[in-house]
Each structure stands twice: as C-alpha cells, then as structure tokens.
Symmetry: C2
Subunit: 267 residues, 2 copies
C-alpha cells in the first residue's frame, strides 16, 4: 500500500514528459478544460478612466462651490463636454470620466439646491477607476496549464478570448476483470456480482476531465486480459484495470503488465 | 447587502414548493443530476456468503488438523463440493463459500505439507462476508433529492438501477443590462466594456446543474429590459439579470420587477 499523495507524486513525475495534443474550444464550453497557452490581455483594465459610483464628476478644487450641471453621462456614452471651473456632470457607475474632472462625488454626498449641486461631504473620496489600474495590455491574466473554472471563463470573455486553446482530454479505457462480474443491466445469480466499478470510474473520469473511449469486462484469464490491455493501449492515454491486482492464483493484472515490459511504479 | 447564507436560506424557502418535472437518464450520464426517487436495493449485499481473502475454506473445528484440499473455488464459480470433516477448499477473494465451511484461513496463515494444508495461525479470523451483512434487499441505498456523484453512480450500477429518474435540470436565462456592453467577440472602444458576466454565469449554471436556454444583452432602457424579462420568464425557471441593480438614474432592474408584481425578497 502507498499513500495517495505519494502515488500522485509518482504518477506526476512519470507523466511529466507527456505532451497532449491541443484543440480550440468555445469559451462557454471551456469550463474544466486545461489551458494550453498563456492568456494575455488585449487591453488595459479599465480601458478608460471611469466612475466607480453614481454621482457628479467635478474638479476637486471646486469642491466647496455650487456647481452647474452641464451633462448627464450614463455608462456606455462618451462624454461630450469638458468640465470647466464651476461645472460638473452627473455620471453613472462605470461611465467614462469627462475631460477636466478629477473626482467623482457620490450622489449621497451631494444636495441639489435649485438646479445647482452642493457637495455636503468635503472629505469625499475620488471614486475614479483609472485606465490600466487593474491590468495593463499585454499582462498575462491566466497561465498555461490553468484548469479553467467559471471565474476564468469570465476572464477569458473579458479579454476577448472566445476560442482558447486547451489540451485535448486524455482518453481513458476501463477494463474490469473478474469471472464473477455481470454487467449492471443483468441480475446477478450467486456467486456473480454486478460490475459497478466501471460505471463509477467512468463518472470520475468525466468529472476530472477525461474522455472514456473503451470499457470492457474480462474474465480471469491471463491471455484475455492481455489482449484487452493491448487493445486499450492502442486507443487510449490511460488504461485502468480493476480487479486481479492481488496475489491470488487468478490475479493476473501484474503478470500482464510484466509481459508488456511495463514498469510497475508502485503496488 | 445580505449574507450569502441568509440569501440562500431565503431562496430555499421561497422555492420549496416548486416541483420540477422528472426524466429518466442513463446511469453513466447521471453524475451531477438530482434523484427524483428513493433507490432501493434489489438484493442483499453481499448476495451470498463469500470469502474476504485468498485462502482455504474450512470447518473451524478442524483448525488443528491436516486438511485435504477437495476443490479450487475462484470468484464467480459455484462451489461443487461440500466441506466435510478433514477437508478444505482453496478459495479466492470474493468467491462463494462452500457448504460446510464456517471460516476462511488466509493463505499467509497456512502451509502446504505434501498435498495437505496445515493452519499455522490458530487465531485466524473468520474472513467471511455474510449474505446481507452490508445491506438487505429493500433497503434504501440513496435518498430522493440526493445529488448524484461518481460514488453514487457506482451504487446505482451495483443495485441494477441503469436508468434512474432524476429531476429535469432547471432552465436558466441570463439577461445582461448595460448600454456600455459589447459582446465578448467585439473589441470595446471606450467607454464600452465587454460583457463577460454572461459567460461566467453560464459556466456556473452548467457547473451547478442548470441548463441555459436564453442569453441576451439589453441597453439601459426600462421597457426593453421588461420585454426581455417577460420573454425569459416564459422559457425558463430562473432568470438572472446582471447590471441595473443599484439606485442610479438608469438602474431599472428593480422597477422592472415591481412592474411585474414580483416580490423582492432581498436586495
């Protein structure tokens, strides 16, 4: 017996050199796949100075003045007017900061007096997200070999990567050995049992991002197991055998590996 | 703002009465689905007295005798001979216990003297798994509403449930609001930004077992948002809006819900 962590380490070492082929997938189907490329941002984030609040874009030096409102700037609309002394523009969260403004006072810190704006809180923060503050064009946002999760799909979409290159899924075969096995569809008559391992391994393979190409069930017969393993090796990256791994008279798995000159890394 | 746990509790309460339709799936595609039925075992586990070890099936009262080997019993083969006094059968792990035997001595605790078996360790355990020891026919093995994981697929297969009845996946729509949004395929020109939320929500929906039937992007226009929500409600169980949820001049989401007489459970 061997500790799981140790086993994984041995497997990782032994498979370090194996390079899977790559393929291109759609970003909305990329969850769970493994990136085969570094993802680089194609722009600054934010890509323009923007307001972090609903409020008024002003000149900080005007904070004590009564200000004239010259424009309404929703998100997505380019400001048309520059802010000059004594002026402000009403601005929504995410909207582009107008030229001439160097702070946004949030709506709660202001008061309308007639049609003029008065700032009630003179210690207001700036409330601006500056161009490139979060990320610069050319920065790596996701590294090669990253396993893509839903947050990553959002990052891919926001950097315009709609078709990331990912590694192809490893192909796995499952060979269940044991003369006592019947398929799950059948009712086993003692001393038979249903082969449930295959189904479980198949589900695990899917969950961990592998494809299953080949599932078979073989009786305890050294030559039949050998032929199955040979067939599986031709069409898969990973072959999983269940059963026959002990040292009983009919435990042939180890013998089969030996006859294939396989290196047994752990038992 | 509200704590995630509290929000989930409110959602759980509000959706308690909703019954999704059910459908039948293949067990090897059932991972991540939610059972719509209790799963009952169609047999005892084990379904026969079996050996837990590779060894010899004997009568305990014979443990000090030299024993004659009368049969070899591999897993999957029905024993043909009863064990009488002074006899034993070689038996493999998982194989059916022959009549007359009441214990299995593991191979390591025995010695061959000529063609007779001698038990070296007189304190050997029984090494028998008795019929029904793990589970009785008719026992519930998985409960309704259980979210199926790979281990469960193995349990389903071993109880002969190849087509479990599961709840249909809830259908989710995603409506992104914001005049600043362009689709991820496009390069945004300031003050635009890419709509990456939809992609992330779609991935999350898939990951948590929902289908996504409808994704759309709407500018900040109360009527257009209302029409989108109405369209989405017709074809989905869950409608997710992103954007427009604050109290700015163009934050219409809440107004849209009010005009639909929706009950707002939290903000």
């Amino acid at each position: 017996m061997i500790l799981l962590e140790k086993a994984l380490e041995i497997i990782r070492e032994a498979t370090n050199e194996i390079i899977l082929e790559t393929e291109i997938v759609e970003v909305d189907k990329s969850n769970g796949r493994v990136l085969a490329e570094d993802i680089v941002s194609d722009m600054d984030f934010p890509s323009f100075d923007k307001s972090a609040m609903d409020g008024y874009a002003i000149k900080r030096s005007d904070i004590e003045k009564l200000l004239e409102v010259i424009e309404f700037i929703p998100a997505g609309k380019k400001p048309e007017k520059n802010i000059s002394k004594g002026q402000c523009s009403k601005i929504m969260t995410g909207a582009m900061l107008p030229e001439g403004a160097d702070m946004v006072v949030k709506i709660e810190d202001t008061e309308l007096i007639g049609d003029k704006v008065k700032i009630k809180n003179l210690k207001s923060k700036g409330n601006i997200l500056f161009k490139g503050e979060n990320l610069k064009e050319g920065d790596i946002v996701l590294n090669k070999a990253c396993k893509i999760n839903p947050v990553h799909t959002g990052i891919l979409a926001s950097t315009g990567v709609n078709n990331p290159t990912v590694f192809k899924k490893p192909i796995l075969s499952v060979i269940s050995t044991g003369s006592e096995l019947v398929s799950p569809e059948e009712k086993p008559f003692p001393p038979q049992i249903r082969n449930s391992n295959s189904t479980q391994i198949q589900s695990l393979a899917y969950e961990y991002g592998a494809e299953v190409s080949f599932m078979t069930q073989v009786e305890d017969d050294e030559n039949k197991i050998l032929q199955s393993v040979k067939a599986a090796l031709l069409k898969s990256d990973i072959v999983v055998l269940t059963g026959g791994a002990s040292f009983g008279d009919l435990d042939f798995s180890q013998k089969v590996f030996e006859s294939l000159n396989a290196k047994i890394k752990f038992t």
